[in-house]
C-alpha cells in the first residue's frame, strides 16, 4: 500500500470507520427519508387535488375510494396529508437547519473570540429570546405577510438564541482544552479553530439538540397555523389539518387521527435516528 492510498483509505466507507448504526436508527432514517420523498413528490402522487371538495359527506370513515376518509368539507384527507408533508417537513427541516447552523456558528465564534464580541452577541440574543415565540411570529408575519420563506425565517429566528446558547456552552468547554491552545499558539486562524478543532468535538450534542429543536419547530408551526398565520388555506400543514378537523374527534374520524399519526411518526423517527447515530459521531470524546 502506498502512502497516498493509505491516507485516502481512511476517508470513505462508513462501516470500516465504525460509522455503523443499529436497527432503530435505520428505521428512524427510513421514515425520515420516506417523508422527505413524499414532500417532493406528494402533489404528483396524490389521488385528488388537495384543495378540492370531492365528496358530499364529511368526516367519513376509511374507504377504498378515500383511504383516510374525508375531512370537514368533504376533501380527501390522504391527498391533504401528502401535500401537507411538503409544508411540515420542508418548512421545519429548512428552519431547523438554518437555526442550528447559525446558532452553532455564532456560538463557536463567540466562544473562540470571547470578550466584547461574546458579551454583545450573547445579550442581543438573550433579548431576542425574551420575546414570546408566538407573539414574535404574529408580529413578523403581520408585518411581512405570510409566505413560506417568511415562515421559515421566523421559525429560525425564534430558535436561534437557544441553539446559540447551547453551542456556545459546549464550545467554551472545548475552547479551554490544551489542543485548542496548541493550535492557537501555532498561529491558526479563528476559522481553523472552529471548523477543525472545536466543531468535531461538539458535533454529538449539537445533533441531539437539532432533534429536539426540530420537534419544537413542528409544534410552533402548527401553533402559527392554528392562529391562521402559518400555511394559508386551502393548503395546510399537518398541524393545520389536525386543527381544522378537530371537531371530528368525537366521531373518531380518520381525518383528525391520520395527520396526528403523521406528526408522531416524523418527530419520533427524527429522535430515533438522532439517538442512535453511530457512537463515533455521538460521543467523539472516547
Amino acid at each position: 500500500m502506498t502512502a497516498r492510498t493509505s491516507l485516502l483509505a481512511r476517508v470513505p466507507t462508513p462501516a470500516r470507520l465504525g460509522y455503523r448504526f443499529n436497527l432503530v436508527g435505520r428505521i428512524g432514517l427510513a421514515v425520515i427519508l420516506f417523508w422527505a420523498v413524499i414532500a417532493i413528490v406528494g402533489p404528483i402522487v396524490a389521488p385528488y387535488p388537495p384543495g378540492e371538495i370531492v365528496g358530499w359527506d364529511y368526516f367519513t370513515p376509511m374507504s377504498a375510494e378515500y383511504w383516510f376518509g374525508l375531512d370537514y368539507l368533504g376533501r380527501d384527507v390522504f391527498s391533504r396529508i401528502l401535500m401537507g408533508a411538503r409544508y411540515t417537513v420542508g418548512i421545519s427541516l429548512a428552519a431547523v437547519f438554518i437555526t442550528v447552523t447559525a446558532g452553532v456558528l455564532l456560538g463557536m465564534v463567540a466562544a473562540v473570540i470571547g470578550g466584547w464580541f461574546d458579551m454583545v452577541l450573547s445579550r442581543l440574543l438573550d433579548a431576542l429570546n425574551g420575546i414570546p415565540s408566538l407573539l414574535f411570529g404574529l408580529v413578523s408575519v403581520a408585518a411581512l405577510g405570510s409566505s413560506i420563506p417568511i415562515l421559515i425565517l421566523t421559525l429560525a429566528a425564534i430558535y436561534i438564541p437557544g441553539a446559540y446558547r447551547y453551542a456556545r456552552a459546549l464550545a467554551v468547554n472545548v475552547n479551554t482544552m490544551d489542543y485548542v491552545t496548541v493550535a492557537r499558539a501555532r498561529g491558526e486562524t479563528t476559522f481553523y479553530l472552529i471548523s477543525r478543532e472545536i466543531f468535531p468535538n461538539i458535533l454529538g450534542p449539537v445533533l441531539a439538540d437539532l432533534g429536539v429543536r426540530f420537534i419544537f419547530i413542528v409544534l410552533v408551526l402548527s401553533g402559527l397555523s392554528f392562529l391562521g398565520l402559518g400555511v394559508q388555506p386551502p393548503n395546510a400543514d399537518w398541524g393545520g389539518l389536525v386543527r381544522e378537523n378537530i371537531e371530528g374527534m368525537s366521531f373518531g374520524a380518520p381525518a383528525v387521527i391520520f395527520p396526528s399519526i403523521a406528526i408522531a411518526t416524523l418527530t419520533i423517527s427524527v429522535n430515533m435516528f438522532i439517538d442512535n447515530l453511530p457512537t463515533k459521531i455521538r460521543d467523539r470524546s472516547e
Binding site: 502506498t2 502512502a3 497516498r4 493509505s6 491516507l7 481512511r10 482544552m177 490544551d178 489542543y179 491552545t181 496548541v182 493550535a183 492557537r184 499558539a185 501555532r186 498561529g187 491558526e188 477543525r196 478543532e197 468535531p200 468535538n201 467523539r284 470524546s285 472516547e286
Partner: protein
C-alpha cells in the same frame, strides 16, 4: 508469626468492557498483612493497585466484580459477606483515605460533622465523645488549632491539612486496617513531608495496620514496612523495604529503581561561539483578570529575567502556584505579558500571539503536561502531525506523509500508529505524539510544561532519554518546567527556582543541592523524598523556614 490481620488469597477481579468483553484486572493475587504492619502496593497506573486496595473493603468500582479468591479481615470473610454486612465493616474495621481530600469533603458541611460522621452512622459513641476523640486525632496529626479547626469549612484549610483531616476521618472509628490511596500524590513536596510524618505518627499511635498505595518508591520507603510490587494485575515481587531497595530480585523492580537513580545531565560539549542566546527574558510581568492602568488584577509573574544559550537546557522548578506554567504561557504569547521583553533568537517578540509572524511562532513550540487534553480526540495521529507541516512548511500529499512517518520514527513510534485516534494510545505514546507535533514545526526552542509529571516513573525516564537524544540530533534547546527535581537534574544545565511568581535563585543544575543559597531553594531541595528508609525520620528542617515558605 502471629495470625495475620488480613489475608488475601488468589484474588481475581474482572470487568466487562463497553463492548461486552470480559477482562481480568487482578490475576490471582495473594498476600497477608500482619497486625500493625504497613504494606505498600506499588506499581504503574493500570497495575491494579487501587483495585486491590478497594477490594479489601469489599468494594469494587462500577463494572468490576470479584470473580474469585478470598479476602479475610480479622475474623470476617469479606468475600462471603452481603453488601449490608460489608457496610457495617466499613469505617469500624477498615477505612479509606482517598487521593484527593478536596473531592472527598463536602464543601457545604463543617469539617467536624464530616469527620465524626462514621461514629454517627455506626452509632459508636455519643457526639461529645466523638468530638473529643476527633480533637485528639487532630492533635496527633499535628494540625494547627486542633480545638477549633473542626468548626471550619473544607475550603478554609489548606490541601495538606485537608489530607490529614481525611486521615482523621478514617481513624475515628478505630479501624484495624486503613487504606491510603496515593494520599500525597497531589501535594507539593514541602507539604508532603508534614503529611507523611503525621500519618506515620498517627498510625503508630493507633496500632492499626495499613495499606499504602503509591507509585512513588521514595515515599513508600519512608512509611511502609513491606512492599508489594505489582504489574498488570500480578504480584511481581514482595519483600521488606530494605530488601526491595537494596536487593531487588525481579527485573521490573530493578527497572523501577533505576528510573529513580539521579542521572546528571552533561550538555553536548559544543563550545563553539554562539552568537546570541536562544531566549532572553527581561523583567517579564504577566497576570490574569481585568486590566487597570495597564496592569492586570491578579499579577502572577513579577519581573522575571533570565537568558538561555543555544543548545542548553533550562529547568524551572517551584511548587504549585509559583507561576512556572504562567511563565511558559507568557513566553509563548498565550497569555500576553503586560510588561517586559521576550527575545527569541535575538528577535523581540510582540506580547500578543496574534501579532507574531509565522516564522517567529515556529521557532518556539510549547508541549503541555496532559497529552490527553493536548491531542484532539477526533483527529488521527497522522492528521495531528500533518497540520503543523502544512501550516509552517506548506507540505502536502506524499511528502507530508513521509515526514509524518519520519517524525513518528524520531519519537520511536511505529509508522502504522498514524491511522489511530489518540484515545487508542497509551499515556506514554500520547506524550510522544504530543512531542512529535512540536518537532514537526522544526523549532529551536521547546517549552516543556511538566511533560513527564502525569506519566509512570519508567515511562517518564524513557521520555527524558528521548528528549536528550533528540537534542543531540536536532540542536534543540529546552525550557523544562517541572516540580520534580530529579527530572530537572536529569536534563537541565541551569535551574530557576520560582516562588510566588518570582525567580528566587538561578543555579547550575549539577550542583544545585550543594550550592543553593536562597532559603526557599534549600527548603525545596531538602523536601524531595530520597530512596532511603531513614530519610524522613532523620530530616531536619528549620521550622522558621518552613513557616515562612511552605504553604501548609
Amino acid at each position: 508469626m502471629t495470625e495475620p490481620l488480613v489475608s488475601v488469597s488468589d484474588l481475581r477481579i474482572g470487568a466487562t468492557t463497553d463492548s461486552g468483553r470480559r477482562v481480568e484486572i487482578i490475576k490471582g493475587v495473594s498476600f497477608d498483612i500482619a497486625p500493625g504492619e504497613m504494606v505498600a502496593l506499588i506499581g504503574e497506573s493500570g497495575s491494579g493497585k487501587t483495585t486491590i486496595a478497594l477490594s479489601l473493603m469489599g468494594h469494587t468500582r462500577t463494572g468490576c466484580e470479584i470473580d474469585g479468591g478470598t479476602i479475610r479481615l480479622g475474623t470476617s470473610e469479606i468475600t462471603a459477606m452481603t453488601e449490608r454486612q460489608r457496610a457495617e465493616l466499613r469505617g469500624t474495621k477498615v477505612s479509606y483515605v482517598p487521593q484527593s481530600a478536596a473531592a472527598a469533603f463536602n464543601p457545604s458541611k463543617r469539617i467536624m460533622d464530616q469527620v465524626i460522621e462514621i461514629t454517627t452512622i455506626h452509632d459508636l459513641m455519643p457526639r461529645a465523645k466523638a468530638e473529643a476523640r476527633a480533637v485528639e486525632l487532630f492533635r496527633a496529626l499535628a494540625l494547627p488549632n486542633p480545638d477549633t479547626i473542626g468548626s471550619r469549612y473544607p475550603h478554609q484549610v489548606s490541601g495538606g491539612q485537608l489530607q490529614r483531616l481525611s486521615a482523621a476521618m478514617a481513624l475515628i472509628g478505630s479501624p484495624d486496617l486503613v487504606i491510603f490511596d496515593e494520599p500525597t500524590t497531589a501535594l507539593d513536596v514541602t507539604t508532603q513531608i508534614e503529611v507523611l510524618r503525621a500519618f506515620k505518627a498517627a498510625m503508630a499511635e493507633s496500632g492499626a495496620s495499613g495499606v499504602y498505595v503509591s507509585h512513588d518508591l521514595a515515599v513508600v520507603a519512608q512509611i511502609a514496612d513491606r512492599i508489594i510490587v505489582l504489574k498488570g494485575g500480578e504480584v511481581q515481587e514482595e519483600g521488606d523495604v530494605e530488601q526491595i531497595m537494596h536487593a531487588p530480585s525481579h527485573p521490573y523492580t530493578r527497572e523501577l529503581l533505576s528510573a529513580f537513580e539521579p542521572k546528571l545531565h552533561a550538555s553536548p560539549a559544543s563550545k563553539e561561539a554562539r552568537p546570541r542566546p536562544i531566549i532572553e527574558v527581561r523583567d517579564l510581568c504577566a497576570g490574569y483578570g481585568h486590566m487597570r492602568n495597564g496592569e492586570p488584577l491578579a499579577k502572577v509573574l513579577k519581573n522575571v529575567s533570565f537568558r538561555l544559550e543555544r543548545g542548553r537546557n533550562l529547568g524551572v522548578i517551584g511548587e504549585s502556584g509559583s507561576g512556572k506554567s504562567t511563565l511558559a504561557r507568557a513566553i509563548a504569547g498565550i497569555l500576553p505579558p503586560y510588561r517586559g521583553d521576550v527575545l527569541i533568537d535575538g528577535q523581540e517578540m510582540l506580547p500578543d500571539l496574534a501579532k507574531r509572524s509565522k516564522e517567529e511562532l515556529r521557532k518556539s513550540q510549547i508541549v503541555f503536561q496532559l497529552a490527553d487534553t493536548a491531542l484532539n480526540p477526533t483527529h488521527s495521529i497522522g492528521a495531528i502531525l500533518a497540520r503543523p507541516l502544512t501550516f509552517y512548511h506548506g507540505l502536502k500529499g506524499r511528502e507530508r506523509e513521509r515526514r509524518v512517518i519520519e517524525l513518528l520514527d524520531m519519537v520511536q513510534l511505529p509508522a502504522a500508529i498514524r491511522h489511530r485516534l489518540p484515545g487508542e494510545l497509551s499515556g506514554g505514546q500520547k506524550q510522544r505524539v504530543n512531542f512529535a507535533r512540536a518537532l514537526a514545526a522544526e523549532p529551536e526552542l521547546i517549552l516543556c510544561d511538566e511533560i513527564t509529571s502525569a506519566l509512570d516513573t519508567v515511562v517518564a525516564a524513557a521520555i527524558i532519554d528521548l528528549l536528550k537524544e533528540l537534542q543531540r540530533e536536532l540542536d534543540l534547546s529546552y525550557m523544562f518546567i517541572s516540580h520534580d527535581l530529579s527530572t530537572v537534574e536529569a536534563i537541565c544545565d541551569e535551574v530557576l527556582v520560582m516562588y510566588k511568581g518570582e525567580v528566587v535563585e538561578a543555579l547550575a543544575a549539577r550542583d544545585m543541592t550543594a550550592k543553593a543559597q536562597h532559603p526557599y531553594s534549600r527548603l525545596l531541595i531538602s523536601s524531595i523524598p530520597q530512596l532511603d528508609t531513614d530519610w524522613l525520620s532523620s530530616l531536619e528542617q528549620d521550622p522558621e523556614l518552613v513557616k515562612q515558605f511552605a504553604l501548609r
